[in-house]
């Protein structure tokens, strides 16, 4: 069998760049249409105020915060794959890490929109950042919302720089295969990279440190996001299990999203030489592992709520199963706990169709998990007089749809502008051409 060679890696990975076909334009149009609808809905909210959302006291967190947490969670797999699997020297990382990392950045960019949308008066969004006390506002560094600003912005910055560093040698490869203005543009983007011994030496050292720095970040970001809930006393939220439970859920949903994105990418751009079913199988196993943790956490949550003998806590948990949001709970349990189980069978986790279907179910389930936590806890809190049924409006659904449009627009632009498989790293994994091999073969 003749595997890929160095030059075929360049050829195959660079082939999908630049020239869009009809299917691509169709996908981009759909993404832009979703984005436009989201933009329209947000404009409605900016003009008429937050009243257009389905909020009613005491529920003031709803679809926006759910979607925020959903996208931050999606953003976890990329850095997990690129950093943690780099440090553990997992060979299956090379084919998929570039697209996974791009997904991370776009997911965090999507998540970052939601605090601004959620606060209503988006033009005051800069108040989220540590403002000088001279503005007569008190910076509460003891608030998890403040930690979140630091955690998400650090995560975004570090992931983006890590992504950019990984791209530099591959941008040089694009530069060397293009002409004219395109070439000039990539020459700037790759910072004049030439792959000299000096460049590689410091590059590899820096890359290792970036991976080492990004690893604790993966664990910290969703822990901090979970504290947005766990530090509050609301029943159903105030639990020490939240950080590990959220981190496992984030990796679970992120890996599922990588499968959802990479399967069509691999098929459409004919990258099967570099992204095999073997890669997807590993992702599926990672999902099974984190999904198992998640299922266990759901169980623990219920056990502790019952064991605590706290009527408010237990009341909320019972309400989640039998109350207004029973269907949310049922969707969550079906999609997150049961749907991935067929992946225990090799036949299922090596079938492209089932990989794709189950990964989508997981994405749906993980969105509903956050919705289950937020909507059911807030609408069924301590005081029965304050129990309400929060139903999102079309504006909220529209903005959520728009967030998918925003995410997919970026991702689609990425696959046409940047190499979606890491050229240099794929080559690193191949056996280099040796004169001695050829001499042995000749004998």
């Amino acid at each position: 069998m003749k595997g890929p060679t160095y030059s075929s890696v360049n050829r195959d990975v660079l082939a999908p760049l630049f020239t869009p076909n009809a299917a691509y334009m169709g996908a981009l149009t759909a993404a832009l249409a979703a984005l436009a609808w989201g933009g329209y809905c947000w404009a409605q909210q900016l003009v008429h105020g937050l009243g257009v959302a389905g909020y009613r006291p005491p529920v003031f967190w709803g679809v926006y915060i759910t979607t925020f947490v959903f996208w931050v969670g999606i953003g976890h797999a990329g850095t997990l794959i690129s950093a943690v699997l780099f440090l553990t020297r997992s060979r299956w990382r090379t084919g998929i890490y570039r697209a996974a990392e791009a997904m991370t950045i776009f997911a965090v960019m999507t998540a970052a929109l939601f605090p601004a949308i959620h606060v209503g008066r988006a033009w005051y969004a800069y108040f989220l950042f540590p403002y000088p006390n001279q503005r007569q506002l008190w910076v509460n560094f003891k608030s998890p919302l403040m930690w979140d600003v630091f955690a998400v912005s650090t995560y975004f910055t570090v992931s983006t720089v890590f992504f950019f560093i990984g791209l530099v040698p591959d941008m040089a490869a694009v530069r060397d295969s293009t002409r004219g203005y395109t070439q000039k543009l990539y020459a700037v983007m790759c910072l004049g990279w030439r792959g000299t011994d000096r460049q590689w030496r410091h590059y590899m050292a820096a890359y290792g440190f970036f991976a080492a720095l990004a690893t604790p970040l993966v664990l910290s970001v969703h822990s901090v996001v979970s504290w947005d809930f766990a530090m509050a006393q609301t029943p159903g939220w105030h639990s020490t299990i939240f950080p590990p439970y959220f981190v496992a859920g984030a990796i679970f949903s992120g890996c599922a999203m990588v499968i959802t994105l990479m399967l069509p990418l691999t098929k459409i751009f004919k990258l099967e030489d570099y992204i095999h079913v073997w890669h997807f199988e590993h992702l599926a196993k990672l999902c099974l592992f984190t999904g198992g943790i998640l299922t266990y956490a759901y169980g623990t949550e219920y056990f502790i709520a019952w064991y605590s003998d706290n009527i408010y806590e237990w009341g909320t948990f019972v309400d989640r199963v039998v109350g207004n949001y029973w269907w949310v709970f049922a969707t969550m349990v079906f999609c997150n706990c049961l749907a991935p189980l067929p992946w225990y069978f090799k036949k299922v986790r090596t079938s492209y169709l089932w990989l794709f279907v189950i990964s989508i179910l997981i994405n749906v389930g993980m969105w509903f998990e956050r919705y289950n936590i937020i909507a059911s806890s807030l609408s069924h809190s301590f005081d029965p007089a304050g129990w309400v049924y929060y139903v999102p409006t079309y504006i909220e659904w529209g903005i959520m749809l728009g967030s998918f449009g925003w995410f997919f627009t970026w991702f689609l632009l990425f696959v046409k502008i940047m190499p979606s498989v890491a050229i240099a790293e794929v080559k690193e994994m191949m056996r280099p051409p040796l004169k001695s091999d050829e001499e042995v073969a000749a004998k």
């Binding site: 160095y6 360049n10 540590p130 006390n133 008190w138 910076v139 560094f141 003891k142 403040m146 930690w147 630091f150 955690a151 650090t154 910055t157 570090v158 720089v161 560093i165 530099v168 040698p169 040089a172 490869a173 530069r175 060397d176 295969s177 700037v188 910072l191 004049g192 990279w193 030439r194 792959g195 000299t196 011994d197 000096r198 460049q199 590689w200 030496r201 410091h202 590059y203 590899m204 050292a205 820096a206 440190f209 970036f210 720095l213 990004a214 604790p216 970040l217 910290s220 901090v224 050229i423 240099a424 790293e425 080559k427 690193e428 280099p432 051409p433 040796l434 004169k435 001695s436 050829e438």
Partner: protein, 192 residues
């Protein structure tokens, strides 16, 4: 810089460039140049190879780590100082008897600051030490093959009387192409 030639003989010729198809030949070439005392070289590879780094830098680690450490210390100090001073500057009494400067929640921001600045310093170190955006590299390193499927060596600041020796080392190591280094530049040595 360590080319051992008398000062008066240091009339330099154009850099010599060798192109390789095989990694073992490239390593032989670097080793040959090193043994003969020519260390003013650039080695281009489409992806990192540890043998090359070992051979040229003899296991000496890149100084990037010091930047990372400094960045981490700077970030930790800065983040903690910022949270502590900003809280102390606005002495609001918290219910529940929490101290103004309470260590456990401030650790979180300190941690984020540490990671952020360690990363930023590492990035700065990368640009600084790799001399990116690249400048001062000889024209000869610019070859589209070096980001594709070939390896290359460029020897800089070659004394006119050394050119022949260098080209012979490179050609005998199995380079598919050796160019530069003065008048006979047109005839690329061909081996293998």
């Amino acid at each position: 810089m360590s080319v051992s030639v008398p000062v008066e003989a240091a009339a330099t010729v154009a850099p010599i460039k060798a192109v390789y198809k095989h990694l073992d030949c490239l390593v032989t070439g670097i080793d040959g140049l090193k043994r003969a005392g020519f260390r003013d070289i650039h080695v281009m590879t489409p992806f990192p190879r540890h043998e090359v780094e070992e051979l040229i830098y003899e296991g000496e680690p890149s100084p990037v780590r010091w930047f990372t450490l400094m960045g981490g210390l700077f970030g930790a100090t800065m983040a903690f100082t910022m949270t502590a001073l900003m809280s102390a500057n606005w002495p609001m009494i918290m219910p529940g008897g929490k101290p103004l400067v309470s260590i456990p929640p401030f650790i979180i921001i300190t941690f984020e600051g540490t990671i952020l600045w360690a990363s930023m310093f590492t990035f700065a170190a990368l640009l600084l030490l790799c001399r990116l955006p690249a400048r001062g590299l000889p024209k000869e390193v610019e070859d589209p093959r070096f980001s594709n499927d070939h390896f290359g060596i460029v020897v800089e600041r070659v004394g006119a009387h050394n050119a022949a020796q260098i080209k012979s080392i490179l050609a005998h190591s199995g380079a598919i192409e050796v160019t530069g280094g003065g008048e006979d530049a047109a005839h690329g040595a061909h081996h293998g």
